[in-house]
Symmetry: D2
Subunit: 260 residues, 4 copies
């Protein structure tokens, strides 16, 4: 009960093979470590920097595969939606609707997600403070939904870097919601001239440990067996075979941190 | 031909009386000063900080009034859209579709706007660099539309402030598009604990002069006869009776600047 | 051996009574917890925002009291110096010379400190990255001194806020030096219109826990029996009676973190 | 009387030949354009990123050459000082003492400079707001000197970039001092892994035009006949043969701007 939960999976549904491999490995690790696990994958990437980037295998195909993973491994699932009209369809397949950081101020999408009755996980915009996420929470509550999660994923720090401000963990917990640290997107290096967002995956452990120590309720980690060939966010994801060792450390840290 | 153009109006369509008063005054000033004028008002505010804030008089009512203004004063018009499915309906009423800064990375809305064949004005996200707006431009061009405008509206600078980086004017002009300076939203003070974005309207002249001097092709200024009672962005708008004096100065500056 | 060390004390030498009270309390706590403790106080404040602020009781008096504390409680001591010509005199009284963050790029002060043969603790400038501290380290090494400590104390984040970037802990450790987290100055709120730097002392625990979890070698905490009446940095210091509880948590966290 | 003044010269005194060439060229241009001209060069670089970088030809040699330039071309001169004990010696040679941005909070150096009776030009720290420069001004005034100039040179914006916030021009003018825009250092790209600060000299015109349009009283431009071989700040300086064309544009802009 005192452990953190984990939202993890590949950035995007590339293939059935991929999502099953990741879910199989991660669910096994989490079962052993007593970590509640939510499978995550995007069924579409709607805000790729560059128009030529891979965006998915088709929404219905992607959503169906996510649902299949959930059923096979008995896992709750989540995916991000990208406009108000995606909330209801996606809610048929997943348990948690994730609102992308760029969209966290869009009232329509927050309300549509809220109205599905599903858990709504809102990522903090790179341009927003933790205290200001109160207003996103209020919009969802006004729409009659109290099942809200907030996720920190870094804040704009010059054009080509993000910084994680750990004050946002206690600040967002004051809104009465669990707070998740997105350990992989927080390390993005945006606005690269190549049109491909960069990253710093060797620092995922640093970001995660600080989050657990400061009381984050959950962690979000994108992982892939071979990030170098991933079709999205390859620069940020954790190599799947490194996940077990990291989680073992984090669980021990959590035991101490949760005694506070 | 060498003058800058002006996109101006009240933040939101509050009433027919208001939009007519603003259009009447601004179009008169611009006619005298030789400034091409585009009437702007939002038919809905979709990303208000706070759920309780005013969002509009109804989309159809708002759009119809914008169109009426355009017909009465023979002005091109613009309004912002907030999701891909608003592009086609809004395009029936306005000449320029404006993409909000928070949404500048959403491929769906950019493509939907592009496909209307209207001019698309994309505001640079507070989290984006001017060079990275190349990718927004590319998405619109790939959708077959070359009529693109880019607008600078400030960049995240700590949580409660924005800063205008004038390097973005030449950097965005390199994408082959006209570049507009949004002189009022650039002065916002976001993330206030009150849930009401603050501002610095006494600095509108500073922002505008620097923009004209550095070669901005257009200016965007929200204006209202009485900002203190405005239903949105009251902290940022220019008082309508101050617009004439400011534009006179800017036109003189432009004459010198355009000789370079 | 595996514990973190602590640099702590009141911001400035206000009086003999104060420094003795703090040293007595903190050294007692640290002895019990097995934390190597370095007593810190400034003998002069040389960069107060406002000219009217308290700057000290005289350099010689301040330094003599710091030395007296060290002798009485058998503690190593540290103080900050403010110009190259203070290095040699201060080195007669203290064991570690601290270089203020604003001065971390000044070659003269770094070399003068290095040449005393004392340990040199350089605070990372608010305008500097952790990797760029390599050049400060190099300047000290070229002057023949290998006893170097680096301290993170937050980075400029807009005008009125600082943010702690925990990536700087591993990044600075790559320079081959111990890295300290300054848990109190990191929470400053600079550039307040009052001319008095603000703070967020309720977040000291958040900053410290994240530092220990990410492997910081030492912590720096300013503490005072009654911060409300302190003559400097009252807005940031930890109330002395809260230190014990915090350190107990941190020591437990460290035990887990150092197993990695 | 209504023109801006110019502080210009090579970054550092490399040789007599260099300073004479620059002074000869720039003073000729400024005489023709009616621009009051102050010759600037550093007699020493005291905060080079890297210990191995060139720091000067010796303080006395450097200062003597600056004085010689002033006498030969009948120009006021300026140089930066780096510690309180350099104020009095440097004041024997130059007319304006410049306080480096990193040192703008150091009370000792401000007071020492003030007490020479010379004009004191304080660069705004990269970590400071324009309004907060009030406290630097107060320290100098309290020391009995009213001859103060403030210079904007960019603000920390992530680790590897600076941004110029033009709001600082009117904000600093409220302190009752002339305000200068440093058009070359504002374009630095600090914290490069090479240990050599980068730059963007092609944007010098953009920075300068915005400064003149927003009412800056003076401009600061480092210039060199061949920046590629300069011994400091080669990445930022304006090529000497480009200065005339730029100043001609700026003088015309100023004529319009000063009519406001």
């Amino acid at each position: 009960k005192k452990n953190f939960f984990l939202i993890a999976g590949p950035c995007v549904v590339e293939s059935e093979e991929l999502v099953m491999e990741v879910a199989d490995t991660v669910s096994g690790i989490c079962r052993n470590l007593g970590i509640p696990y939510v499978f995550k994958a995007s069924y579409r990437k709607a805000n790729r920097t560059s128009a030529g980037s891979f965006t998915g295998i088709g929404d219905d195909n992607g959503l169906a595969l996510i649902k299949k993973v959930g059923e096979k491994y008995k896992l709750p699932t989540t995916s991000d939606i990208h406009a108000h009209d995606e909330a209801a369809p996606a809610a048929k397949y997943v348990d948690i609707l994730q609102i992308p950081a760029f969209l966290c101020r869009q009232t329509d999408i927050l309300v549509a997600a809220a109205e599905t009755g599903k858990i709504v996980n809102v990522k903090k915009g790179q341009f927003l403070s933790g205290p200001a996420m109160k207003f996103a929470v209020d919009k969802i509550r006004r729409a009659g939904n109290e099942k809200i999660v907030l996720t920190e994923r870094g804040t704009t720090f010059g054009y080509q870097d993000l910084v994680v401000d750990y004050r946002n963990i206690p600040w967002m917990q004051e809104h009465g919601t669990p707070v998740v640290m997105d350990c992989t997107h927080s390390l993005q290096q945006p606005n690269q001239t190549s049109g491909v967002t960069g990253g710093n995956p060797q620092l995922i452990g640093t970001i995660a440990k600080a989050a657990v120590a400061t009381g984050a309720d959950g962690l979000f980690i994108e992982t892939h067996p071979n990030p170098a060939i991933a079709k999205s966010d390859g620069a940020n994801m954790l190599r799947l075979d490194l996940l077990k060792g990291l989680l073992e450390q984090l669980v021990r840290l959590r035991k101490v941190a949760s005694d506070y």
